[in-house]
Symmetry: C2
Subunit: 323 residues, 2 copies
DNA sequence: CCATATTATACTCATATTGAGCAAAAGGCG
DNA sequence: CGCCTTTTGCTCAATATGAGTATAATATGG
């Protein structure tokens, strides 16, 4: 069997404070996918160089911050129509996922690439809107039905416990980083169409795209979930959020960015206090007037601080009592 | 060019509270390596199953907790004697590194595998011993010399800043998680023999194995550094340390384990207070008498708590004023 | 059998950090 | 000018953290 290695990229940028990912547009029945290219051992000295190469070739711009996410290689992921026990496939493709952050959503030159709001693929991950509570409750119902459909009572119990942990049900807290766990649970419960495709079985038609999101090609939604989880975790212990911001920004726009990535609201005053203490930003003395209320001072990220201190991330004081 | 995928494992266990890794013993001039096996796309449905398979086959025991670390694929890593610009090699091996944790250092059945103290490969990572201060200062001298040998003054500056950040020099704090940064800096400065091998150049003979550690095959020391960094970080936000402990343990032995992994000492009373608050452990009512002083109560990890709360890790209140 | 060393565990206290909210400042707009 | 909106400054109680001191329970050696 031939083994091939591909590189897939989750390229994130903010558009009006909302996180977007670069997607290759689907055609006909084929859904959207992530930018994906083969790793060519002859020409690419490292994975990262290979990735930068073909992203530039395909989309026409240079990605900035890049980090490796995870390597995906389960059978089934590359051959949606193949049954899991079919070992006769002639080729196996494994894919190394990368996360890339760009400060602005540059216009895409060639190819069929588009910026998509990442909540299009995961509507339930946005806990800010009023709609989200309703979606969450619909998903909870579907997962309850799935739990009840288990054969043994221990299995029923176990399924429901996992659902509660993943989705913050039954008094448990919603943990924003559990993006992948949530997607994998929906996959296991066959509530997302990808699961049906992979296993050649019908999808549970309980939930609509408005609730469980638009599907993606192959296992790309899993890769995107991994990227979201990583980024949501990382902004708390590394100052990576600034890789997504323009040179000058207001504290409110920074907060909007953090809220967009995390999917929940922050306490404004405490966010500022924490940011102040961290020393990451510095006022520029100029002001943004087009905001409606009192003009906001523009700030910049003090990049040079990275060589001064032990860099941690920004703090994210969650606003309680709203959920 | 043929592309092959291998799986390498950093299997960690504690022996008398000191972290050890399973290594394949070197022969003659060939240094120790990590357990390494090919990924066989025909028989292995997932990477993890493949890994478990051949680890069991080679060493005779089942590994417990497993997580993917990173995928390594830079040219040069697989062919130590090849020059970087030599693209004529017939084969490229990329390797997916895994971290595995086992609760006890089981006797190894077959093959030439041995448990090695992980500080054998990274003596400077252990900040507890008195020797470490001396080692650190020797390394600082060597890095200073390397900085001074740069051509431009900006480059000199840049090198020294990086050295200070990585090794906590010049008033900066030592960050225990920067294991990989430290190793890569030593590699770049050609202070470790692996660098010399990879580039076909002579190693700077400044430092001895007692200071920079025993080398490993290929890029295995880089993989080990990645594993140490991951584990040192992870025990703070996930209760993975218990995967290394036996069923019943004393709080002192748990603290020993944490100190061994982190490479520095913790404040005993505060460590206990934090552990108490976390709710991770539960007293068993039985006591360990062979400790020399007052008998210590045995505790167990409350595994069931994982389905109750948002699991974080253990806190690690560093003991200051000793360095 | 008592002093002593050794380790375990309990409690204290000052100082930071956090969550939550109130109030003033500085614009635009009718 | 008064009102709405947003930014910014400040307070206050509740908790968490760093760093000790004190006491308890064992083994050991005279």
């Amino acid at each position: 069997m031939t083994l091939r290695v591909g590189l897939s990229a989750v390229i994130v940028a903010l558009i009006d404070g909302a996180p977007h990912v670069l997607a290759t547009r689907g055609r006909g029945a084929m859904p959207d996918g992530l930018p994906f290219g083969p790793f060519e051992p002859d020409t690419h000295r490292t994975f990262e160089l290979g990735l930068r190469d073909w992203v530039t070739a395909q989309t026409g711009f240079d990605i900035g911050y890049v980090e490796q996410l995870y390597t995906f290689g389960d059978r089934g992921r590359d051959l949606p129509t193949a049954r899991l026990d079919d070992t006769s496939a002639a080729e196996r493709i494994i894919s190394i996922g990368y996360l890339a952050l760009t400060p602005e959503a540059t216009e895409i030159g060639a190819f069929d690439a588009v910026w998509r709001d990442w909540y299009r693929f995961f509507p339930f991950e946005d806990q800010r809107s009023d709609a989200s509570a309703a979606i969450r409750s619909d998903i909870a119902d579907a997962l309850k039905a799935w739990s009840a459909s288990a054969t043994s009572s221990a299995e029923k119990q176990e399924r429901w416990t996992r659902a509660c942990l993943a989705f913050g049900l039954d008094g448990r807290r919603w943990i924003e980083e559990r993006v992948l766990e949530r997607y994998e649970l929906l996959y296991e419960a066959r509530l997302v169409p990808e699961a049906a495709l992979d296993q050649g079985q019908a999808c549970e038609g309980r939930l609509s795209e408005r609730q469980i999101g638009t599907p993606m090609r192959s296992d790309h939604r899993r890769i995107l979930a991994t990227a979201m989880a990583r980024l949501r975790g990382k902004i708390k212990y590394r100052p990576v959020i600034f890789e997504l911001m323009p040179e000058a920004f207001t504290l409110s726009s920074l907060q909007d960015a953090a809220e967009g990535l995390l999917g929940y609201c922050l306490h404004k005053q405490n966010f500022r206090r924490a940011l102040d203490k961290s020393g990451f930003v510095e006022g520029l003395g100029s002001f943004e007037t087009a905001t409606g209320g009192r003009p906001a001072e523009r700030f910049r990220f003090k990049r040079e601080i990275l060589s001064q201190i032990a860099p941690s991330g920004i703090q994210t004081p969650q606003k309680r009592g709203e959920t």
